[in-house]
Each structure stands twice: as C-alpha cells, then as structure tokens.
C-alpha cells in the first residue's frame, strides 16, 4: 500500500487528483467520526465541516511539512473549521444537556456510535475534543496539544474532567437500572 507521504508527493508533483482522492478515502471515515463526536451527533453538519476541511487540505497541501501525521494535520484543519462555524453563531454546540443518555444493551456498531455521540452532549466543547482524540483515537497528549493548540496542563485536566463526568453518568445509569 502506498504511504500517505507518497500520495501527497504525487498530488504536489504531478497534480494527481486521483492520489488526493485515495488519500481522503483512507482518512474520511475517522475524520467524519471525529466531527460527529464534536457536534454530538449532527451528521449533516459534521459532513459539511469534513468537506470544507478536506477542500482546505487540498488547497494547503503544499504547506504540509510532515512533522505530524497527515491525519493529525487534517484533524487540526477540521477543528479550526469547526471553531469558525461556532464563532459565526449559526449553530449551538454548548448544549446544556438535561436529557439522560440511554444505554443500548444489545447494540450494534451504529447504536454504539449513537450512544457515544449522545454521551458527548454531556460534555463541553473542549472536553469532547480531547476525550475523542484521547479515548476514541488513542492519540498522545503531545499530539492533542499539537492539534488543539491547548496547553498540556489544560489538555490533561480536560481529559480527567471528561472521564469523571462520563464515569459518573455510567454509574448513575447502572444505579437506576
């Protein structure tokens, strides 16, 4: 399989759009999942932001230095695009969620993702961001700092707070059951 860096080189040197298409095909699933978590299950908006981020990635590919992985760089673009959408005030993300999440016992992959997205509604934006990057994607603290631009201490505290909130939610659910 051709590596990401080889595909990027093909796009830049040969203006090979098919290579970019392959690159995006490889990363689109996790990118869209990441944005679905950030938007707490707003699929249309998540896909719109993913499209914009990929288009921006195509336009800015020559600025990609290869210090971090392509997927990290793509996350960074998507996150900044997401922040921009929030700043326009067109969408509300800081939902103060009073609805309880429902654990889906006999769940398939789709239901499991819906459950995770519902859980995200109980977290604030930064918590959603760092917990998704950390727990869903398994990224290190250093990578999260690079993607989000947040200080290391802040990243760690957001992760700890998000984990506590989620564990408390799960514990509540178990008690109710």
């Amino acid at each position: 399989m051709i590596s990401d860096s080889d595909l990027i080189a093909q796009v830049l040197t040969d203006s090979d759009n098919a290579a970019f298409s392959s690159l995006i095909s490889r990363h689109q699933s996790t990118l869209r999942q990441f944005l679905r978590r950030l938007t707490a299950g707003n699929y249309d908006l998540a896909d719109d932001i993913a499209q914009d981020a990929c288009l921006l990635a195509f336009q800015k590919l020559h600025t990609f230095e290869g210090r971090a992985s392509f997927s990290s760089w793509l996350r960074k673009l998507a996150y900044h695009r997401f922040l921009r959408v929030i700043q326009t005030g067109a969408q509300k993300y800081e939902s103060t969620c009073s609805e309880s999440w429902q654990r889906l016992e006999s769940r398939d992959a789709i239901e499991a993702d819906i459950m995770a997205e519902t859980l995200m509604k109980h977290l604030d934006l930064h918590e959603r961001l760092v917990i998704t990057l950390n727990c869903s994607e398994g990224r290190s603290h250093a990578e999260i700092v690079d993607i989000t631009g947040l200080p290391l201490g802040t990243v760690k505290s957001h992760i700890a707070r998000a984990k506590k909130k989620l564990c408390d939610l799960v514990a509540e659910e178990v008690q109710v059951a």
């Binding site: 298409s21 789709i110 727990c135 869903s136």
Partner: protein, 102 residues
C-alpha cells in the same frame, strides 16, 4: 483506573467504518469546481487587464481617440468605481482562496 480507561475506550471508540464513496466524489467535484472558478476569474481579470493595456497604448499613439476624451469623461467615475469594486472583490477572493490561515 486502568479498567476505567479501558471501559471508556471501549464505549467511545469509533465502532463503524464509514464507507461512503459519495463523500469523496462530492469533494472531488468541489475541487474541480473551485479550480474552474479560479481559472475563470483569472482569465477574466487577464482580459480586463489586457483591454486596459490596449486602451492605454492606443491613447498614446492615436490622436483621434483624444476626441473621445470628452465623451469618456462622463462615464469615468462610474467605470472607475466599478473597477475599484472589481479589484477589491478580486483581492478578497484571492486572499480567501490562497492565503487563508488553517
């Protein structure tokens, strides 16, 4: 603590692999469209530039065109304003397309 992390990872991991060729197709169409728009804008701006260059050259060489000066001056503010707006829009477009910070 380790079990807690494992549990959270198990419920938060991405469970589906979103296979969607439509997403990539739509993106490639947008890329093609933006490339075409860029070509169109650059071509139109080049043509406008060439037209003005030719007018400038002709005014230098042909005395008869001086006669049209009075007629032209009526429209000069309107044309000037339109050109300024077009130039401004061109720069807005260029900066949004090419120099937007990620």
């Amino acid at each position: 603590m380790v079990r807690q992390n494992e549990f959270l990872e198990s419920i938060l991991k991405y469970h589906q692999n979103l296979v969607d060729s439509e997403f990539v197709e739509k993106l490639m169409l947008r890329i093609e469209m933006s490339f075409r728009i860029r070509q169109w804008v650059l071509s139109i701006c080049s043509i406008i530039g060439m037209c003005f260059g030719m007018v400038g050259l002709s005014r230098l060489n042909l005395g008869e065109l001086e006669l049209m000066g009075g007629y032209w001056s009526q429209f000069a503010p309107l044309v000037g304003s339109s050109i300024m707006i077009l130039v401004f829009l061109f720069f807005v477009w260029i900066f949004n397309e090419e120099f937007e910070k990620p």
